[in-house]
């Protein structure tokens, strides 16, 4: 899951612009085009915690004792350019991508919690039960003004959410996707955190550990799909911090002739693993 960069914290980065705030558009260069290779289209319901993680922290100031429901729609496209940067706080390596697009989020509270599957039900519930809701929208690109008609999204900020709003929003989201599809190539991308690089980097110890895991598990006729299950077992804390590489485990299984993810090995293959296990004992 990607996360919008906060321009205020990312001095110098071509950050996103929060709609409704003053959009400071950079002067347009003479019509370059950008090659966006990776599209993303998704909608999902999510928890309060995840919501803060993806750049909608402000929306969490909803004071409620009941269930809070979030619904997010992402439409974006990214270039193939990828940078790795190091986080100042915990030194993790963050994958940064460059793209354009928009994210619309609806938050609703004091509604029937069963109505959490789609916005149509949320709108109905809010109308019927007097529940409350709010909409936030966020678009990102170097020059927001180039997205013709995007300013219309501001009218949804903080509105009461009902069936009519839903209808307007659905139409608007569709239109906005059309604008991006048609004009996106002329709009400069903005940087965003796309994910955290796997902290499990190569060491010789980890190779030997992963090979031992494969030998022991194949001795027990367990397929390599059992890795997560084994890690979850009691007394295995030392191996949980991303010590065992699934790729090396797959390589070790392949050397015994076991290639399928859910294959626990033939009698001969298990016997071969037992022979290796017994070396030096």
């Amino acid at each position: 899951m990607w996360k919008l960069l906060n321009p205020a914290q990312e001095a110098g980065a071509p950050g996103g612009t929060l709609l409704g705030a003053a959009a400071t558009a950079a002067p347009a260069a003479p019509a370059p085009t950008y090659n966006y290779t990776t599209p993303i289209i998704s909608s999902y319901a999510m928890t309060a915690h995840a919501m803060g993680d993806i750049g909608f922290g402000a929306i969490l100031n909803v004071n409620t004792s009941g269930d809070v429901y979030y619904f997010v729609i992402d439409v974006a496209a990214f270039t193939s350019k990828i940078d790795i940067k190091t986080a100042a706080d915990d030194k993790t390596s963050i994958i940064t991508r460059y793209g354009i697009g928009f994210r619309v989020a609806v938050v609703a509270w004091n509604i029937d919690v069963k109505a959490s599957a789609n916005l149509g039900l949320v709108a109905a519930s809010a109308q019927v039960k007097g529940g409350q809701s709010s909409i936030l929208a966020h678009a990102f690109a170097g020059d927001i003004s180039a997205l013709g008609g995007i300013a219309g999204i501001t009218k949804f900020n903080g509105t009461k959410f009902d069936a009519q709003t839903l209808k307007d929003l659905a139409g608007f989201v569709g239109q906005l996707a059309g604008v991006i599809a048609d004009n996106g190539a002329t709009i400069a991308p903005a940087a965003m955190d796309f994910g955290v690089l796997n902290p499990n980097v190569y060491t010789p110890d980890k190779v030997v550990t992963a090979n031992s895991f494969a030998i022991e598990q194949l001795c027990r006729s367990t397929p390599r799909s059992g890795l997560d299950n084994w890690l979850a077992g009691g007394g295995h804390d030392d191996w949980r911090k991303a010590v065992i590489s699934p790729t090396i485990v797959a390589a070790a299984y392949a050397n015994f002739g076991v290639t399928a993810y859910t294959d626990g090995g033939s009698t001969d293959q298990v016997r071969q693993a037992q022979l290796v296990q017994g070396l030096g004992t």
Binding site: N118, V173, G178, D205, I215, A250, A254
Partner: protein, 299 residues
């Protein structure tokens, strides 16, 4: 032993001063050994087409990258399905001297997942039934598209569905999904010329991995099975408090051992990986802890 094909994320970037590193492989080798500089030639043709429509369960759907949607609302009566369409081409990259990446597959495609729940079990037969049930009985549905490659044209093709993302899953939604599927299939199969394909999987060479893992820089070939067997032997002997000199002598004590253990690899394990001298007993606490983690994984 041959090669192993590993599905990877499409991320290729500069890492630790090395260009063109396949980031997904950072856990199996140092950055300079997992590089892939080559890309498919412009306007090259796709040689493989894979299409699958799979009815499945929720945990499989989550493992395919759909983890965020609806994770908290799963009831027993859940209907999951996904559709994959991928066109791909295989390339054989120019081999960097140390790289273990000997092949790569690039492609374009999309994956569409549909999840429906709290719907009368008797309806759970087809998408059309699901759509009807959702309308009639207020069941809940969600759907999501993950696309690989194709950029803005995919957003254009999927536009009818995007406006629908807010709404209920109805017969109309089903129709727009069908139309979008047809558009995307058309785009990926017949109009793929201008689209930039993305990395889908790489082939890694097991003997080149073996050479790295046994610390051997010379020209002697290494086989993964020999490295795995010999290191496991050395690990067991070290765990029993034997020095390098003793372990090398012990190889002759058992026919199985002498047939399957390569002395050079045992020496490399003691000196390079453990950092021990020939007659140093591996009994210090830090060494014992490392040996335990290496030996008891999977037990």
């Amino acid at each position: 032993m041959g090669t192993l094909t590993v599905p990877v994320t499409p991320f290729i970037a500069k890492l630790g001063g090395v260009d063109n590193v396949v980031l997904s492989l950072a856990d199996i080798a140092p950055a300079n050994m997992i590089t892939l500089a080559d890309r498919p030639a412009a306007d090259s043709t796709y040689t493989a087409l894979d299409l699958s429509i799979v009815k499945t369960n929720f945990s499989v759907l989550a493992s395919l990258g759909f983890g965020d949607f609806m994770s908290t609302k799963i009831s027993s009566n859940t209907f999951c399905s996904y559709m994959d369409l991928v066109v791909s081409q295989h390339i054989t990259p120019t081999l960097a001297p140390d790289s273990i990446v000997v092949g790569a597959t690039f492609g374009l495609g999309f994956r569409l997942a549909i999840l429906a729940y709290d719907i009368d079990a008797s309806f759970s037969a087809s998408f059309a039934d699901i759509a009807a049930a959702a309308k009639l009985k207020m069941g809940y549905t969600s759907y999501q598209i993950i696309a690989v490659g194709g950029g803005l044209q995919v957003i254009g093709a999927a536009q009818p569905l995007i406006g629908n993302l807010t709404g209920e899953f109805t017969v109309e939604t089903l129709e727009s999904i069908g139309a979008v599927q047809a558009e995307l299939t058309q785009l990926y199969v017949n109009k793929n010329k201008g689209l930039t394909p993305e990395l889908l999987s790489v082939d890694i060479d097991l003997d080149r991995m073996a050479k790295l893992y046994s610390g051997y820089g010379g020209s002697t070939p290494r086989h993964y099975m020999d490295v795995m067997s010999s290191q496991h032997y050395a690990l067991q002997r070290a765990w029993r408090g034997r020095t390098l000199t003793e372990s090398l002598a012990d190889i002759q004590a058992n026919a199985n051992w002498s047939q399957n253990v390569t002395p050079d690899i045992v020496t490399d394990f003691y000196t390079r990986i453990l950092g021990l001298k020939a007659d140093q007993v591996p009994d210090a606490d830090p060494i014992r802890k490392r040996l335990r983690i290496m030996l008891q994984a999977g037990t």
